[in-house]
Symmetry: C2
Subunit: 498 residues, 2 copies
């Protein structure tokens, strides 16, 4: 007789590249998102919550050549909706919404969005395939007043979540200034923007590598090319030494104040109309920020900000935390960027053919939380609840009554609901719950209308260091009248920060 | 020459069955979720946030016969993780987590989870394929103290979100009592639980139809069977009239108070051991709720609650809103259920082979919001921001300064960022933003250090009803010193509820 094959038990694991968040991590992130939302709302931004699922077509991730979605997204074919995918950012859904509801939304439309996005990338250590984004964008506002507002809001937001003034800086640059510099350097012809496209691509990539290669490496890439340590050769943009110096000068054009920076840039872009517009815009942004009360200790014009210059069409922004933390090897290093953004002008063009200006930022909430944690600036994780222990299984109603009284007074409280036989297990449970207080009432105390209250924080300190005499005197445990349960527990919580 | 075919523009639409949420809807839901989370935390529950994506195996949705996932989930095959799917509820991920981290989690483990879930079902009007769930469960607590705690917490939660006492009721029943009744009715043999399985299935389905078919219809299904209006015949369980009356008596066993209900049920289950245990459990739950201060005006033992009896293994709960609303046809009807739950004892057995008791509830957040909206009990949707209009494009810095001042004083404020040429458009925009106040400063006012403040709420009232004289006197608009901007706007907001 054939033995029936038993199905193996399923494995209790998260899929590769995904993770779970427990307790304080969830509470802290939700608190931060709520604070950010409040700041955004104060600036007139409204929330938008789209679904996780979009059509692959709307996401712009359909590859018509192979009739399949781009591999970077999680996609599947649906009977009712065709090829659909999980959103990979919050900008693509905004573009879809701005096009779909263009007749109903206010214009300009200021919106914020917060939530998970998904990337179909190889998972690796610390690289997750689902993570949070937190964006704010203004759609339909062509003037740099919108950019200045976003930069000021970014500074306010960082302060609202707990980064004090001086520990962050918002840096602002402008793609148009770079284009002006390109004109001066002879790699952009305003009358024929298609000319020198390859050279400009090389220039952009070279600029982007300043951090890694240093000025000499970038200079080589701007010129004839660069051979790396392994002997690999990267072709350069073919600029002369003078032309290359113009580009290099752009990146180091920051002066002691906004006025100087603007003057330096104005000299650099010379006769270029695009460049002049770009410098004017930076100048206006500086003026508008000052009017909003955002000084240069919070937001500066800084031409060395090059990240994303290729993607954006005007002003670009980046927020950096300027304090040092220790890296894995114990070396101090700057914490770095927690937010970036800028102006991009073809948000909905793909859908409607119309050009609609937009500008926005994205805040890396998880990095920001990590920074606050690294600096010990997150509010001490709230302690666990008060644990009402169970000495007598038949008096569960009494214990529930005590827990209800504590809750009614605003204190987190729970009755131990495991098997109460072994009291040591109850205290181990309280320890695992990081409970500050245990409430104990046996038959004797109940008869006398009393209750024992154990200060678990003090108890742990004593257990670690007390002499036998101290230990025996049990200073961490006190007996009070049952009627005094609430004030007695409150007094301990006030002392231990609960 | 062949003309190059232009790719058609993508359609800006949500996939079928998905939707977007804007502004107040997002704010209201987030506020409700935050309130629920606070109440859950007060009871010692900790948040858990799992990913949207789980292995199909862990979800228990893999169909080995066809080597494909169940069609009810959105699933795809991943290079790194195999078949994965979007979670369809929050219980399956809890089961995976309870098994995966069983050595690290406190036991009992009280957790709450809030977030979207996805169902691969045919979309239809009002039927969405992504919606919110909001669950609280206690894992590893076998005693009914855990059930009583959950029921009390459910009542507190409903009050916390704005359902006053008297407008809701938590009803509690117990699957074990029904099993006892089945024994008495002769369709459950405790010595051979496999006997009469078909009959019990019919009885359960019949009970479930009480609302729709009425007592006579259910009686017919318990007996020989029932022919519906179209002539279709549904076979019955074949119970005798006496047996059927026993089952019917179960559903109407509720007495004037918990004591009477318990007595009625005890008489019904007679000698059945399972039935007696079930009645004892209900009795204890009633006692424990009373101890927590939850009276019968908030939670009652009610054997007519039959929903989900088939799935659960012990106590079951349901929260109903008891007030009437008007349905689509203008007829009054009870709002009905907003939450359900109960005890289920094989949460992690699939993974570990171990039986782990669990009990929990799920709150339908969207239904609860709809109820509050229907009763006008949601806080008046916050008005839009103050709009600082732009009379003079060159003085944008002044307008930004005013907005910044208003924000610094805690008021939502924004500068109009569209094309300022047409002032009417600015007021239309303010209207669309539901703005309570417009701030106006032209060159004359600026020179005099003044600013105009327009009360848009009052302005709209006047526009609707004023005489020409009233209209001309412009009572909705006042000129104040620029230095008094903040107090003057605050006074209007205080009057209009902003």
């Amino acid at each position: 007789m054939a033995k029936q094959k038993k199905a193996p038990r399923p494995k209790a694991i998260t899929p590769k590249g995904f993770r779970d968040y427990f307790g304080a991590d969830v509470v802290e992130r939700n608190a931060m998102l709520a604070t950010i939302a409040e700041t955004y709302r104060l600036h007139g931004f409204e929330p938008l919550e789209t679904s996780a699922v979009e059509t692959v077509e709307a996401l712009g991730k359909f590859l018509p050549d192979v009739d399949r979605p781009n591999e970077g997204v999680f996609a599947w074919e649906d009977d009712d909706a065709g090829w659909v995918a999980l959103r990979y950012d919050l900008t693509a859904p905004l573009a879809r919404v701005a096009a779909q509801y263009r007749n109903d939304l206010p214009s300009p439309y200021r919106r914020y969005a917060m939530g998970p996005v998904w990337r179909n990338e190889k998972p690796g250590p610390g690289r997750f395939r689902q993570f949070y984004q937190c964006d704010a964008d203004t759609v339909g506002a062509p003037s740099v007043a919108a950019d200045a507002e976003i930069c000021g809001m970014l500074a306010s937001t960082l302060e609202a979540v707990g980064i004090p003034r001086g520990d962050y800086i918002v840096r602002i640059n402008n793609r148009k200034v770079l284009n002006g510099v390109m004109e001066v350097a002879g790699v952009l012809n305003p009358d024929d923007p298609t000319q020198f496209e390859a050279e400009r691509g090389i220039v952009l990539r070279a600029i982007d590598k300043l951090d890694r290669l240093g000025p000499d490496g970038v200079r080589a890439l701007l010129g004839a090319g660069r051979e790396d340590a392994s002997g690999d050769f990267t072709e350069g943009a073919g600029l002369s030494a003078d032309q290359a110096e113009t580009v290099m000068a752009f990146m180091s054009a920051r002066g002691d104040n906004a006025g100087q920076t603007v003057a330096n840039l104005r000299a650099l872009v010379g006769p270029s109309a695009t460049g002049s517009t770009g410098v004017d815009e930076l100048d206006q942004i500086g003026t508008l920020l000052a009017a909003q009360g955002v000084g240069e200790d919070r937001a500066v014009l800084d031409p060395s900000v090059v990240r994303g210059l290729g993607y954006y069409t005007g002003p670009v922004f980046e927020a950096e935390l300027t304090f040092e933390i220790m890296d894995e090897k114990g070396r101090p290093r700057q914490f770095g960027s927690v937010s970036g953004g800028g102006r991009y002008d073809d948000l909905v063009k793909r859908f409607t053919g119309q050009q609609v200006p937009a500008t926005g930022i994205s805040i890396g909430v998880d990095r920001l939380l990590a920074a606050l944690r690294a600096k010990g600036r997150l509010e001490q994780a709230a302690p666990g609840p008060v644990i009402v222990t169970v000495m007598d299984r038949d008096r569960m109603a009494d214990y529930q009554r005590m827990a209800a009284e504590l809750r009614a007074a605003g204190m987190r409280a729970e009755v131990y609901l495991g098997n109460p036989k072994n009291f040591g297990n109850q205290l181990k449970y309280a320890d695992k719950r990081q409970s500050p207080v245990a409430v104990i009432q046996g038959a004797d105390e109940a008869a006398a209308g009393k209750v024992q209250i154990k200060d678990l924080v003090l108890g742990a300190q004593i257990a670690a260091s007390a002499s036998l005499e101290e230990w025996k005197s049990q200073p961490a445990q006190q007996e009070v009248d049952l009627a005094d349960l609430v004030p007695a527990v409150r007094a301990i919580l006030a002392r231990t920060g609960g």
